[in-house]
Amino acid sequence: MASSTPALHQTPDSSGVPEWLRWAGFRFDPFGPLDAAADPHLSEYLVGHEVFARVWGDGISWVFAPAGGGKTALRISVMQTCWIGQETNRPFPIPYVPPFLAWGHARPSEEEHLMALTRSGARALFLAMAHRPHWFFRLDVSERQDIANLFQWNLSGPLSVYLNLCRQSRQISPLREVLDPTFVMRDPPDEVTLQQWCDELESALAFQPAPPPAERWAHLLAVLKMLGFPSVYILADGFDGAPETIDNPMMIVDCMRPLLHRAEKWAQDNVFLKAFLPTETFPLLAEQFPLLLSDHVAVIHWTPDLLAEIIRRRVYVASGGNFGSLDAVASPALRDVETVLARSVMPLPREMLVLTRQVIEEHVRREGAEGLLTGEDVEAAILQYTQGNLLLTRTAR
């Protein structure tokens, strides 16, 4: 293929920050990825352990947090935890972000939810199985046929399209890109095993007509049980991702209602709804579904201490456990850097990361890619951050 070398911006980060981080003893940049899905160390950073403990485990659970308050990060973290290991002895996660744009409305029926859930579950299982073909190879003929039909009916396109993509590209990454770029699972199979899986899966296909949505959902659950997954977690997130719901908690509750009516019944079958919702929906749900919300509720409230802890935790992980605060790489004129920063930002984790990175950028800009952080770096960063904030929060005319 003719090369088309990018003239600019080929380097992912030429700010000098990576060099400083290296100088300071970091193994990687813990402040870089603002997008939780893109962060390979997400599960190691977990702050607020009690929240995770409430989400993890067999039971319906609820996480309420403000917009930008880390719901998606937590959801992805749970998902990644489900995918640890080689076997099917952990819960099967169905990441469920309502497909508002496909629906074109925000009042889905139960059937629409079930269909979307089934598609999402099929997508997750297809990707997981592509990484763990041995789950498929040990099945008998009828079980294989069940799996092949599940994919044929519920993926966004014909099964053969995805299998051909795998076969022709001879790798798994294009599959991940088209199905779920946030999907993370270690140890993809080698090329030969992948080809074998594609061939055997395709040959198991029986081309039966797709049953109605409720049956397809039941079929997915049966397949997961047959594969040995002890439970299923429905990780519901992104309900505020539509114009109608983004600032309207009542609308979110209405949108979720069909799922909520099913939640208790599902729980009896080891299918657990785990919802990650904006804080504003909490009182509405508590009022309308008091029994569902009687347990396993976590409300994330970001205090300055907790925000400071985010940075300390990331520093600890990225420094290989050598130090647990930016104080270790700050001049004696500067102490308790994280608390100073936490008091200057909007109380949201991502904001804390933005400001921390700004401190390092200011340092690099002023003094180059070496040297301890100074009070001036912090002041300049806070000024920059505040200015940017003011510009974007000017009152409406």
Binding site: E44, I84, D187, Y316, G321, G324, D327, P332, A333
Partner: protein
């Protein structure tokens, strides 16, 4: 070779730790009865606090109850290729549980699958306790692989009790069973003995010195290893005994670093050069670069002799190591001890003057060193005293 001989574990020399043993016992009973006894326990604490003895005692009890145990000591894999190490560990787990001895697979994933296929059958017959020693002292390149291919899957098994022991940097496990859901043995670490248990320990382990129990406790704060070493050896040798995990070829240098830094409540790369300059009476250390100081700090962390302390906002030495070394200096090299405190005092005074934003913090440190010198009749010279105005701040 060190002249100091550490006392090997023996059930009859073992004292205390009833609470921890009871907790272990409950878990084991639950495992045996097929109740909810699985999970992960963490045994951590300072150097010499008794982790190894408690673990050995637990193993002794398990052997009496005929519960299968696999013990892995990660110290054996220090410096080895992480993938090779994990492959070897998987092989050992397989062999020790009666599984396949060879050809587990072409890569770690396949090996892990083979081992767990075997373990599934094994666990249908009996429970399993897996003890992993020196976890937190291990290389962070090894632990993620170990987590992915052994510890994570093990932690999810319903008939496995996993005991992780170690000292130093807690590792940020990805598995909730290993991190958020793991239960510490201790509060949250293993605690030193109180004076009564110290006496009990000495009666069994160094009976001729039992009458010195109070004096020893005052020096060691109840750390069992230190209790024994101080009772059985000179202070100098006791320090050597505490530094036993450091390879012999590095031990002398490491001890010198520790002696230079032991007077400080917390240290970092900025403080290391001044303290070394005083310790070696050589000003060229003051010219040390940050990178050079960092190598010292990293080495102390590597051997688990120092760690970052959130409260002190600096690196702190292992409590018992610092306590014994400082006492050693104070009694054996008093002039050096005084000069080190004097240097620390002056350094913090200087920082208090130079850095108004953190002035109070450094004055507090300076005051600590002034008081230490005062306690032992070695007040800093008048010109170096903290000003009256600054005393008011404090």
């Amino acid at each position: 070779m060190s002249a100091v001989q550490l006392l090997p574990y023996s059930p009859r020399l073992f004292v205390n730790r009833e609470q921890e043993l009871q907790m272990l016992e409950e878990r084991v009973q639950a495992l045996k009865e097929g109740r909810d006894g699985h999970g992960v326990l963490i045994l951590s604490g300072e150097r010499g606090i008794g982790k190894t003895w408690l673990r050995s005692h637990f193993e002794h009890q398990l052997s009496q109850e005929r519960i299968p145990v696999v013990r892995l000591d990660l110290k054996e894999y220090a410096g080895k290729d992480p993938a090779w190490a994990v492959a070897d560990i998987l092989q050992r787990v397989s062999i020790e549980t009666g599984g396949p001895r060879e050809r587990l697979g072409a890569d770690l994933a396949e090996m892990s699958r083979t081992v767990f296929r075997h373990l599934q059958k094994f666990l249908q017959q009996q429970p399993l306790v897996v003890i992993v020693d020196h976890v937190y002292e291990s290389d962070w390149a090894l632990l993620p692989l170990l987590e992915d291919y052994l510890l994570g899957p093990l932690a999810a098994e319903r008939r496995v009790l996993l005991l992780l022991t170690g000292r130093g940097r807690l590792y940020p496990w990805k598995n909730p069973e290993l991190s958020t859901l793991a239960v510490p043995l201790g509060k949250p670490e293993l605690e030193p003995f109180d004076p009564l248990f110290t006496k009990d320990q000495l009666k069994r382990q160094a009976p001729s010195q039992a009458h010195r129990a109070d004096e020893i406790y005052e020096l060691t704060g109840g750390n069992p290893l230190a209790n024994y070493l101080v009772a059985a050896y000179s202070l100098d040798q006791a320090v050597e005994g505490l530094l036993e995990p450091v390879p012999e070829e590095r031990r002398r240098t490491v001890r010198e670093y520790l002696e230079a830094l032991c007077v400080l409540r917390a240290f970092d790369e900025e403080r290391i050069p001044d303290m070394l300059a005083t310790y070696y009476d050589n000003d060229s250390y003051r010219q040390w670069t940050y990178a050079r100081s960092r190598r010292v700090r990293e080495e102390l962390i590597r051997w688990g002799l120092a760690r970052w302390d959130a409260e002190q906002r600096g690196y702190v030495m292992d409590r018992i190591v610092r306590q014994l070394i400082e006492r050693y200096l104070q009694t054996q090299k008093p002039e050096l001890w005084r000069r080190l405190h004097q240097t620390a005092y002056q350094l913090y005074q200087q920082w208090a003057n130079d850095y108004p934003a953190t002035r109070e913090r450094w004055l507090e440190e300076a005051e600590y060193h002034r008081q230490r010198l005062q306690e032992y009749g070695s007040l800093p010279s008048r010109s170096e005293n903290i000003s009256a105005a600054d005393r008011r701040i404090l």
